[in-house]
Symmetry: D2
Subunit: 287 residues, 4 copies
């Protein structure tokens, strides 16, 4: 029949890698990465004819993650993702692109007796993310974070919005603003011989996001999102753009007047759904 294979990709999702680096004096370093890998390419004969000669098994992709981890230091998640993507891109002439995403769980060293413990750790809720894409004509590397849940009880309003016949929301000068922040930022291609300090970049970007969220006089979540993005691009010249995805996790006052009590704007219901969602990419001019 007259059909053709259009966009396609394949790979392995959620390869769970834990690496212990055993340093001097019994001090261990713990890394915990979940790696997902995808290939795109000219795989028509595999699809149409069941000819697998061009198909690198996803089982091999999994092995490669563990093999790379065993061969040497991981480096930053951004570097590990980039190395895997470059390797996969080179795996065959039909491959036109490779994309590797890493979700790193940062473990904190336990404090025992006021000192950081050499080999005991506590997991954090927040994730550090990294993603690299490599194609025939170039590529990019991104860092980011996910599952950072923030809330402010003041400094946020929403007023003067468009109204139509379905609108019942009223203007508010003061509301709870809560979100589960996901962000990723893209690095400029480093100059020859230059090395990006991914960890430092991540640390500062995160702090700028948090500081701006707290300090901003918010007129909407869009308004705050843009201020947060702008702060990061201003503070980190090595970044060309940043994408933020901010759910608006609604907290609505519970009306206690039917219970014979006055409403004092203190008691709220946290709604699991529905939720708003605001997403945007902010880009450095000329990038």
């Amino acid at each position: 029949m007259n059909v053709t294979l259009a966009d396609n990709n394949y790979g392995k999702e959620r390869v769970r890698l834990v690496k212990v680096e055993r340093g001097a004096g019994g001090r261990h370093t713990l890394r915990d990465l979940t790696v997902s890998l995808r290939l795109t390419g000219e795989f028509t004969v595999a699809h149409v004819a069941g000819d697998n000669t061009e198909i690198l098994p996803t089982d091999t992709m999994r092995n490669t993650v563990y093999g790379f981890a065993a061969e040497g230091p991981l480096g930053a998640s951004e570097e590990f993702a980039a190395r895997l993507a470059e390797h996969l891109l080179a795996s065959g002439p039909e491959v036109t692109g490779a994309r590797v995403a890493v979700e790193e769980r940062p473990w904190r060293r336990l404090e025992v007796g006021g000192a950081a413990h050499p080999h005991a750790f506590e997991a954090a809720a927040e994730r550090h993310t990294a993603e690299a894409w490599r194609g025939r004509d170039g590529g990019w590397t991104e860092g980011g974070l996910a599952d950072l849940v923030l809330l402010k009880t003041s400094g946020s309003g929403f007023a003067g919005f468009r109204r139509d016949r379905w609108t019942t929301l009223r203007d508010t000068a003061d509301r709870i603003l809560a979100t589960r922040l996901s962000a990723h930022w893209r690095y400029a291609v480093p100059a020859e011989g230059e090395r990006i300090d991914y960890a430092g970049s991540h640390r500062v970007a995160r702090q700028l996001l948090v500081d701006t969220f707290a300090a901003h006089r918010s007129r909407s979540l869009q308004h705050t999102l843009y201020a947060m993005a702008e702060a990061v691009l201003e503070g980190r010249p090595e970044l060309t753009e940043i994408h933020l995805s901010l759910p608006n996790l609604h907290h609505v006052p519970f009306d206690v007047t039917p219970l014979g009590l006055p409403n004092r704007d203190e008691v709220f219901v946290a709604l699991p759904e529905p939720h708003g969602l605001i997403e945007a990419t902010v880009r450095r001019a000329g990038a």
Copy 2:
């Protein structure tokens, strides 16, 4: 600073709508939809200056879902999504696109004493999905399904694949093939006055997917994916393309020889992660 707002969108996620249509003779119809809505447009002043005059609240989008449901029949999820998208596109001059996704939970009428009950139902695991996008220059409507978990215990091999130094997988002529199928298919724009039978299209597309999964002599999941897609496009001329996303849910033999028992290819471990993932769009030529 010299940064600009690039791609952006906002909306409401997971509006939970249940509608009961109370027919003649006490026979009720139950519809259960989770609706997500997104707007794209020229919203720079909202982001940069906190000026909300062009922002339709996501609370209004939620109200619109319930209002549309109260005003008249829902129609097929594809039609409901399309109507909402058209409405949102018209909500202001800055709006350049609107996208509405519906996840419908199909409830089955309970059988009691051999007869279909008029108002009692059982939920299905599988979801019926629909999505509509409307923009200044056109749009599209899609149907689909999600969370259909299929498994075959024979008729599936994987051999003759590419090998590199990280490959340890061996050829197999017979393995368990299991997947959690997600599919969506796009409809051609109907001719003037023509009406698409979305329910009929969905029913047949689903059956073709299932039949092909069962009957296909699979040489890889790519191979089966393509055969499934081809069968749907062949059987439903009103569709221009179909996208399939097929995780490969691995089942590996548990080696019982250390327990002093012979392996008979009967006992398997279902692995939750990692999993393979094969995705492709197959398109009718000329579409």
Copy 3:
């Protein structure tokens, strides 16, 4: 210090077993079980002194599940659970009890061309559960089901309830009643030489639960729960008791009058939380 070990238990959770039984003529049977196993006993020296001589590793428990599956037919999940529990109880003199829980996912044979396919299957959402406990002085075996989601749009009211100063709910003669049913029922110890038909018992018990849910004129979820339990005990004399756990999955009318539309009791919001929860055991007199 003067502390003592009180109740304790240990074991393995979520052993994922898939077994393919390859019958005559290429007809395969597929079983999909998640098995959890627990031991109780006199394990004080293990806890206090770190002496493991009485500790059967949970890794061994896992192996036992696969080993038993490889040695012969599984039988009903109730029988498989009981056999494992008996085996574990006998694993050492310190063991005083063993409990094995099975969650079986029933796969339905796909229908292709009107006929049941010999080796291709579709997963169901509902679970078939089984649990066996064996102790020094006896034991019990239970069957059950989980994740059966039921809803009725008529035949359910809630009125005449207790009111206090915190009560705002009004009487209703007609509401949506929805639940995610979990049930387990206990079997009488079979007479010597007698064999229980677990599959038949399950099939009929399930049908009685569903039929009663649909047909009952419900004055509360407690009222319906009791009627369902009574129907099962009446219909299945081999059962001594049944436990039902019925969340009340609330569906509240969405008030469309602020949108200028009349409320017609057709449009509802499905609330994910909070939810009611009604639980009870109903027992045959003399059991």
Copy 4:
């Protein structure tokens, strides 16, 4: 028919309460509680006859949570749970017991410019739990924590265990030990006029659990559990018992020798399932 209602209970699950306490100088306090409430009692007529006169609606229980929150300070979660349980116990003569469980999400104040922010917060992954039961003849109050994920890369072995024909595990002197800790501890009934410092008790109990996990030379997870429990009871005389539930989250070495690399005990797979589970209550003698 000759059946009777045995154990039964009902209530409301997952009431989501957020309370903002607006202190002097714009300093806000944020509390985030998920409350579940259950009643037990003589509710036979409700079940058998559908007579609701003794049934306090679960909707009222929800209102009570918000009403209590609006009337005055919450106090510690343990106190809030106890107050609600006492109130529910007194709600009618048929009520024989009331149990209230609270899961509190502790929000951390954001640090901005080195100072704690007055009204912006970050969510923690860990939960602070509290539970109170009140019955006709007494009751108890518990504190606890959940979802504290700990891991140590040294100081943990497992050897000298029982072996049977299904055992393949080998002795190990050094392994990764990881768990998702849940604990709850019970308070002695305070003397007349005495007030328990729940927050202080929680803080120290948590620190003792973490310190002991890190420092203990573990011969098994049972061994470590007991040491952790003992440390808490030793350090907090106001507690009579503690219950720990410790999943053993397995990390198994990935064998890289088939990839031509030496195993160095550095590269591990984190297995999501199955997992071990060790549970025990340790009690102060005489309690």
